[in-house]
């Protein structure tokens, strides 16, 4: 583990509670770690476990899933379904040797700007402690020998354009 390593964290959140709560954190000018990239979905019910796998395949060191507290779901039950899905999925990850702490789950309501800050900081901190997801990175490397680790996306060489478009 290394303290000055900056983890890459993908966050999948629901529009109605967590995304709005994160907006509130902003309007309240709360400060938190910049490591999280938020992807907005209507509901945690929409968050398929394969999104998590995809995130790891794309180099995420950790994943955060967040939605409405039980009984607050805008769609009544989406979060309940998600809760079961990820309770089981975590067990699968654990069983296959992936530290379940790399997939974090939280309830953050539209009123909990401060909680969003705390969650982001805590998760970033925890993933930082776990260190880079080297095991998965290695798989990626072995699978895609041609994919450059940090091609800054912009300034893409013609070759890669072709690579990626096909």
């Amino acid at each position: 583990m290394n303290e000055n390593f900056e983890p890459k964290i993908a966050a999948f959140v629901c529009t109605w509670c967590t995304y709005t709560g994160a907006d509130l954190a902003g309007t309240s000018r709360l400060k938190y770690e910049p490591n999280v990239r938020v992807l907005r979905l209507p509901c945690t019910g929409r968050i398929d476990f394969s999104l998590v796998i995809k995130a790891f395949e794309n180099g995420a060191d950790g994943v955060l899933i967040s939605g409405c507290h039980p009984n607050d779901c805008h769609y009544n039950a989406g979060n309940f379904h998600a809760r079961r899905r990820f309770a089981i999925f975590r067990k699968l990850l654990e069983f296959t040797g992936i530290d379940p702490n790399r997939v974090q789950f939280s309830w953050v309501s539209a009123a909990e700007g401060a909680k969003w800050r705390d969650v982001v900081n805590a998760v970033t901190d925890e993933i930082r402690k776990l260190g880079p997801f080297n095991e998965y990175q290695k798989l990626i490397h072995d699978s895609f020998p041609f994919r450059h680790e940090d091609s800054g996306a912009e300034e893409i060489s013609e070759k890669e354009q072709v690579e990626n478009v096909k």
Partner: protein, 285 residues
């Protein structure tokens, strides 16, 4: 016993009660059996049942084999454990109850190769519970051959995270993505498997580490709360990847968390399609 089997198959076909009878027949190799799908009473003479009949014939009831949805039901010989698969198929609307005629076989356990099959060692139901007809006298119910069917699962659970990772990476590394596991599984009936989906492609199709890991994770999860533990995936895998361990683990967790056992009730709601307010959420911040 084989006599009763032929009789009932013969009767069903000659009386035109069923469109076909799916059962076991002597295989070309000694000690091996093959699947026989009889459409005429004459063919029924070939049916047998013995300790080598390890395979789960329920898979032939999936739509792709085209044996169901006829004007008459298809009859099938099933061991008590195989019946669970049929229950699941009915529960998941892949099979109408009236489209199948279940001939239950009492079973003392069967062999995989020349050793008793793993699923039989943990088995505690030896007589059919859900059937249209039953052949063979009921055998006495006995405790599982082994104390703990989950022993191997627990062994892995007790490894360190790193050890587990290494263990599975070694296993998955062997995978050549032939999808025999999918083919053999009665519950892998999707008309288009997610792995064949290209827009977008969720699972890398080539058998490199990333693709293999994703495939086996997704396969295991898609069977969570559904797998009835017939073990056909294990048998089908020429690379000897212990696939059923993943399914067993899922089954274990589902039962511990939600008290659900697959293949028991055609009316039950699959555990991942429902929820309870009081479901555990210790892992949620």
């Amino acid at each position: 016993m084989s006599n009763d089997i032929r009789q009932i198959a013969h009767a069903l076909l000659s009386e035109g009660k069923v469109s076909s009878v799916i059962g076991y027949a002597e295989g070309s190799l000694k000690g091996r059996v093959q699947t026989l799908i009889a459409h005429t009473a004459r063919e029924a003479e070939k049916f047998i049942f013995n300790e080598n009949c390890v395979n789960n014939l329920a898979v032939y009831l999936t739509k792709s084999y085209g044996l169901i949805n006829k004007d008459k039901p298809a009859a099938v010989f099933l061991k008590p454990c195989d019946i669970k698969s049929v229950t699941a198929l009915i529960q998941e609307h892949q099979l109408r109850r009236e489209d199948v005629f279940i001939i239950g076989l009492s079973c003392q356990g069967v062999k995989n190769g020349n050793v008793m099959a793993g699923k039989c060692m943990g088995c505690s139901i030896h007589n059919p519970q859900y059937y249209d007809a039953i052949v063979g006298e009921t055998v006495e119910e006995k405790e599982p051959g082994i104390s703990d069917p989950f022993a191997k699962v627990k062994e892995i659970e007790n490894m360190t995270t790193q050890e587990r990772w290494d263990f599975w990476m070694e296993q998955f590394d062997k995978c050549i993505r032939c999808y025999a596991c999918r083919q053999a599984c009665p519950l892998c009936y999707c008309e288009e498997c997610i792995v064949d989906k290209t827009q977008p492609r969720w699972i890398e199709s080539s058998s490199h580490p990333i693709g293999n890991l994703s495939w086996h994770l997704i396969r295991a999860f898609h069977l969570a709360g559904r797998c009835t533990g017939c073990g056909e995936c294990d048998r089908a895998c020429h690379q000897n990847i212990p696939l059923s361990l993943l399914n067993m683990k899922m089954g274990k967790e589902i039962f511990e968390l939600y008290g659900y056992r697959p293949g028991m009730d055609t009316e039950a709601k699959p555990p991942l399609t429902e929820f309870k307010m009081e479901d555990s959420e210790e892992f949620i911040r």
